[in-house]
């Protein structure tokens, strides 16, 4: 009896230890970054395509003020309200004291320099597919941005979601770096896949989430309820998004739909970014969307 209890306790302890090990926050292998030289000009394109400023600029920032990544925008979800942190290159307020490897761990793995998991409101589930060269370029561009001392505000997330360790379990299920569209048949579709699935992180809003808040890859880009609780985010699959290629590209450039209604909500920020990318990138997104399979009924 006592022996049974002992064994039981040991087994439990072993499971807990294994769980602790599995859910730990693992930074990237920094040797992967060695040999890459950062190009800030290319990093600016990555910055725009990835929409960094759309979430990390101050709430009412317009124009050049959007390059001050002071944080403070609020994002409501089923799990609580996330407040975008200051990620400007300020040594105390932002991430001015970080190393390249720490930055890459945050972007590609959702791991903070002090070894904690970030909440996946930060779309590292998409950025995990970012190439190492692009992360290095992005970091080089980051150094050119203005520093701001505004302190980051805490997220308003209740129990049990305030246990960061639980994000480790979540990552085991939902942090995958393989492509959703397994084969990209042309270089244009491949570029579109990189933009949609990695940088522009379209799937984060246009794909429905499971009860645990992970992307349901079996319903990739099939549309989803709006996380604010009102309205829906439309499907981008060919059965639903029936606009022509020129029309989709024009929408990404100007925000005008084929019947000349205009974009609203978070899509406004997305279009602001896409408008600054080369036309070939908008066309690549179209090529990718047109190559999506018809959803299974």
């Amino acid at each position: 009896m006592r022996r049974g209890l002992m064994t039981g306790t040991l087994v439990l302890a072993a499971i807990a230890a294994a769980g602790f090990f599995v859910t730990r926050a693992t930074p990237i292998d920094s040797s992967a970054l060695a040999g890459h030289v950062g190009d800030p000009a290319s990093g600016e394109t990555i910055f725009i395509a990835s929409g960094c400023a759309s979430c990390h600029a101050a709430p009412e920032a317009e124009g050049d003020a959007k390059l001050v990544l002071a944080g403070g925008q609020r994002f409501e979800s089923d799990f609580g309200t996330f407040v975008a942190p200051n990620v400007s290159p300020h040594p105390e307020g932002g991430l001015g004291s970080w190393s390249l490897a720490e930055f890459a761990s945050a972007v590609q793995q959702g791991v903070s320099p002090d070894g904690r998991h970030y909440y996946p409101a930060f779309p590292y589930t998409s950025y995990t597919r970012m190439t190492d060269q692009d992360v290095v370029d992005l970091w080089a561009y980051w150094q050119t941005l203005p520093a701001d001392a505004t302190p980051s505000q805490p997220h308003e997330v209740g129990f049990p979601f305030n246990i960061r360790r639980s994000v480790g379990v979540w990552k085991q299920i939902y942090l995958e770096d393989d492509w959703v569209m397994a084969s990209a048949d042309t270089p244009e579709i491949e570029r579109g896949r990189y933009l949609v699935e990695a940088l522009a992180h379209c799937g984060e809003c246009h794909t429905p989430r499971t009860a645990l808040g992970g992307l349901d890859r079996s319903a990739w880009l099939e549309g989803a309820p709006n996380p604010t609780g009102r309205g829906t985010i439309p499907a981008l699959t060919p059965d639903e998004l029936t606009w022509g290629p020129t029309e989709i590209a024009y929408y990404l450039e100007t925000g005008f739909t084929p019947d000349f209604d205009s974009a609203g909500g978070h899509m406004v920020a997305v279009i602001e970014n896409f408008a600054q990318l080369p036309a070939s990138d908008r066309e690549a997104v179209v090529a990718y969307l047109k190559a999506l399979p018809q959803p299974k009924p």
Partner: protein, 154 residues
């Protein structure tokens, strides 16, 4: 007592009409404000079609479309946006309460549309190349307001 009650009801009916009858549908105002956006969409369709090369550029038609945009931008807005005609109070609108919470912002965004419309009015007959950037300005004005003041489609 009864007299007081009657007085109170009469007062409420007279003075505070909008709050007592919060359920009125404002259908005339909704038709008017949604109609003006529809007129703009039709004329933007002409200009945008030319900019995209879908329809042949025609200086006269472009000018007429741009003039119409300016015409709409000159319609005074406040009478069409009475208190209580937001999407939290009534059906059939996507107008967010922020319009009334920050009227100054809303009206300044409408003025920005006027500036953009004046821009395309100047550019319209000057050749198809000028249409693209001018449309960009209009699109920017539309999005700036829809970003905060219009609810997503349900």
């Amino acid at each position: 007592m009864k007299k007081h009650l009657a007085f109170a009801i009469a007062f409420a009916a007279l003075g505070c009409g909008t709050s007592v009858y919060a359920q009125e549908d404002f259908s005339a105002q909704l038709k008017a404000r949604q109609g003006q956006f529809r007129i703009m969409a039709i004329n933007l369709g002409i200009l945008g079609g030319m900019a995209q090369g879908k329809i042949d550029y025609d200086a006269e038609a472009a000018q007429a479309a741009a003039d119409s945009l300016v015409g709409v931008s000159m319609i005074q807005q406040p009478p069409m946006w009475p208190e209580g005609s937001d999407n939290m109070s009534i059906d059939g609108t996507r107008a967010q309460p922020t319009i009334w919470e920050d009227k100054v912002d809303f009206l300044s965004k409408w003025e920005d549309l006027g500036t953009a419309a004046a821009g395309i009015q100047t550019a319209a007959s000057g050749g198809v190349e000028a249409l693209g950037p001018a449309m960009g300005q209009i699109g920017g004005a539309c999005k700036a307001c829809h970003d905060t003041h219009r609810a997503p489609e349900s």
